[in-house]
Symmetry: C2
Subunit: 145 residues, 2 copies
């Protein structure tokens, strides 16, 4: 585990020779302060609440840096911007194509699939980089299907 508290994450940066800046602190603050998955744009917004002068491109660069350090992951839920979350909080995403809702599922739910893919294709399915698409409970009920 790469560390889950802000201090642990800052330690990861220092260990790798990166510098700890206020912009990085602010980005970490926004990410740890939200359960939601945030787009880079939303992270920038959050950062601007306290640091109005941090540029959008800096946020992109920081998120990219954090991702290379294993602190942050990004996922594609649908078309449009991807969303970021702390790597420590790993899970898979079910996105309803009808209502656009997102259901988070623990990795445990993938155990069976993982076995099948490994056994039959030698493929280790480990990093949830994309969502699974389909139709959620509510939408299925609504349309009696």
């Amino acid at each position: 585990m790469a560390g889950t508290t802000v201090d642990e994450m800052l330690a990861v940066l220092r260990r790798d020779g990166d510098r700890v800046t206020s912009a990085k602190r602010a980005v970490l603050g926004v990410l740890t302060g939200s359960d939601e998955h945030l787009t880079a744009e939303q992270v920038a917004e959050g950062v601007h609440a306290t640091h109005p002068d941090v540029h959008r491109s800096t946020v992109y660069r920081i998120l990219d840096n954090f991702e290379r350090r294993g602190l942050v992951s990004h996922v594609h839920l649908r078309h449009g911007p991807s969303v970021y979350h702390l790597t420590a909080d790993q899970h898979h995403h079910l996105v309803c194509e009808q209502c656009d809702g997102v259901v988070e599922v623990p990795d445990k739910a993938m155990t069976g699939l993982r076995k099948v893919l490994l056994r039959d294709y030698g493929f280790s399915f480990d990093t949830p980089h994309f969502a699974l698409t389909g139709r959620c409970r509510a939408c299925r009920a609504r349309e009696s299907g």
Copy 2:
């Protein structure tokens, strides 16, 4: 099934009041003539072999039209452009994050996962719009893991 031969697909278009144009025929020709998954750009290239004057934007519009008619589907395998294939040829995609290789797997391999998601989350996972990412057999062997 929406039809798999070019004639059947053209019939779908006519049935819906769409016009059958040479650009549409050319796009269908390229798609049926390739096992590969093609980006819109590659489809345009293929079309240009016989119809050099068909504009890229027209190809996008045609692909979009075909998709709404259920003839074609697009999938995101990684960052960058999405790829198109005939809907009749449905399958899931495993993309290796190390070598970028793509393994196609039949829907059958998802039966177990589909059951779990339906039972535990009421979610019907039906449309493979995104790839599953991980590491393929060759890359795992190469790194002894």
